[in-house]
């Protein structure tokens, strides 16, 4: 039992120390509310013939929950938005362009 207790505490401490390298962004490390969650800036690019104004806060529109600091939205959101907006030709994600392949 002593071995289990030592292992339990060691795992908790190691994960927490690992989490300090990137506060609030690593799961299973303790750092509640240490950083604010932020969403990437995403703009939808439509074909020239498809007149549509630029939409602000695109990332926020597609989320059902508040942005979390430990979720990689820059990787996970673009494929979803491309599928959800059939007219989208590409996405500007921060400074990168993500083509929507059909």
């Amino acid at each position: 039992m002593t071995a289990f207790c030592v292992a339990y505490v060691a795992v908790q401490i190691v994960l927490s120390i690992r989490g300090l390298s990137n506060p609030g962004r690593l799961r299973f490390a303790w750092g509640m509310y240490a950083v604010a969650g932020s969403l990437p800036t995403i703009d939808i690019v439509y074909p020239a013939a498809y007149a549509r104004p630029m939409e602000p806060d695109v990332a926020e529109r597609f989320l059902v929950m508040r942005g979390r600091p430990d979720v990689d939205y820059e990787v996970l959101l673009p494929p979803y938005i491309c599928a959800a907006v059939p007219a989208a030709e590409a996405l500007h994600v921060e400074r990168r362009t993500f083509p929507c392949r059909r």
């Binding site: 927490s16 604010a36 989320l63």
Partner: protein, 268 residues
Amino acid sequence: MWNAAPSLAADSTADRNGEPSRPVALARILVGIAALLQISAVGPHLTKLLAPGAFRAPYAITPPIGAAWTPIMICLIVALAVAAIVGWHTRIALAGLAAMIALVLALDQQLYGNDLYLLALECFLLCFAGSGAALSLDARRRGGASDLVERWPVLLLKIQLSIVYAFTAIAKINPQFLRGEVMQAALRFEDIPSQLAVALSLVSIGVECFLAVALWFHVTRRTAMLVASCCTPRFWCCSNGALSWSRLSWRCWLSTCCSRACGQASTW
């Protein structure tokens, strides 16, 4: 229904073979109440996330659970939490509660929350502690409460809570938090002076440092409880203040229960 004994008796019954059962039973009840509070907050998110067409952020291995299972999962968690509170088949209820919370956490990256994770760990440890030995239907069915429960899970629970407070305080020592940006993002009042946000951030770090240590010692425990219950900036200033208060406060109450249970060990 339950025979409440003076809590001071708890310290005197601690010995090398176990810990007094009543404070640990009280901790079990608090964890059950916390589970009900948490599921009331997470339930709506769970329903929306599992609805068809919602944005999902799955893990490499995510349980294939659809929207139809949401009400069943929520009802099961509520039932297990109630069973844990009243102490009906306590070990099974706590083990089931830990497993269900782990399942919720595994469903989507967006559902992860340290509060839920901590709750699962607490259920897991209380399950081993034999927390149904007192203040429970199990004890009533056996014809009386047991005086002692396992010591090691109670000690682990205390250490766990200190680790949570200590590392959360350290993690908050980062430029974004120290500039008050995190506090401002969470404030329910708009346009507060940045100096006030910075001050509240520093207070928040101080409170958590204090709680990491103070709950271990008899002389500081009462002050720690008072600080945690009344003076946390999040309680007064955040949009979800009531939930923040309940989270911080029940953790402190839990730690206090464990400290009482640990008796002499709490004066390390």
